[in-house]
Amino acid sequence: MYGKGLRPLSIATVAMLALSLSLVFFYAPLDADQGFIQKIFYLHVPLAITALVGFVVGGVFAIAHLRSGNRKWDAYSYVAIHMSVIFGVAVLITGGIWAKASWGHWWVWDEPTLVSFLIVFLMYATYYPFRYAIEDPERQARYASVFAITAGAFVPLNFMAVRMAESLVHPRTFATANGGLPGEMMFVFLCSLTATALLWITLVKFELTAKSASGQVKRLRRALDAPAPGAASRIAPEVS
């Protein structure tokens, strides 16, 4: 059921990624201050925005789960958070590379933007042990939803706190002063952001499709394990 529309979505994502990469390297002007190294911006910032929005989306799905009691929303919330954690890993690595090239250091502990993102990332890294420490599936889903809502609410608060704090070296991307983007750069950035968001949606859909198929196989196995009328019980072994 989740696989519907996956093929056109995947094609659109690949096309958009190819377009945005072409624009980054052949259309976007070189930054007057940073030069060629600023090209990392078109990868690092969209990944960070998508990851943070993904965490909030995971919280919204968790609200839907607690309101309706439908486990489908819990699966959505889990996959959204899972994908955002993967994007978060990419943000931390690409950010480190950019920092090394621009500032000469892989990481700056005094910088609120970097440390706040690391806090959010580590908070969501605890989601997995927290979730899988609970054996009962109903309780697991409920507690994980509470976690996703609480953490999801923390993300925009954290973002606002960072915006209010004084930045030492990290630029403010959409600030009106010192961080604004010229038209061509903004266009390329928006294309990159769209491509990254499409990639996130495609991978979420892909993961949901795989999870759904795996669940259906388990249900089928249980149905086949039931003894047939007039036949001896036969247990179909689990394939690990």
């Binding site: 201050d33 993967i86 795996s214 394939v239």
Partner: protein, 85 residues
């Protein structure tokens, strides 16, 4: 440590900056490829399980059909005996 940071550092030359830019984009690509490879392995496992379950279902169907034919056979024998008498 922050005093040592070059706040307004000059742009890196292209040959040096290129390595960092390539590194960042390659990391992203590798992450995606690793993720897709893991998902492909999962899908292969699901496919294998489905094949196995299809085999079980076929076997069960054959067992049921055999059981039905065995149930029907004694009835036919009784009918044959009655017609002979």
């Amino acid at each position: 440590m922050l005093d040592l940071l070059p706040i307004a550092a000059p742009a890196l030359p292209l040959d040096e900056a290129g390595k960092y830019v390539a590194g960042a984009y390659i990391v992203f690509l590798v992450l995606i490829v690793v993720y897709v490879a893991i998902m492909a392995a999962k899908l292969q496992r699901i496919e294998r399980e489905l094949r196995e379950l299809a085999g079980f279902a076929e076997q069960r169907k054959r067992d049921e059909e055999r059981a039905k034919s065995e149930e029907a056979a004694p009835g036919r024998e009784a009918e044959e005996v009655a017609s002979d008498v």
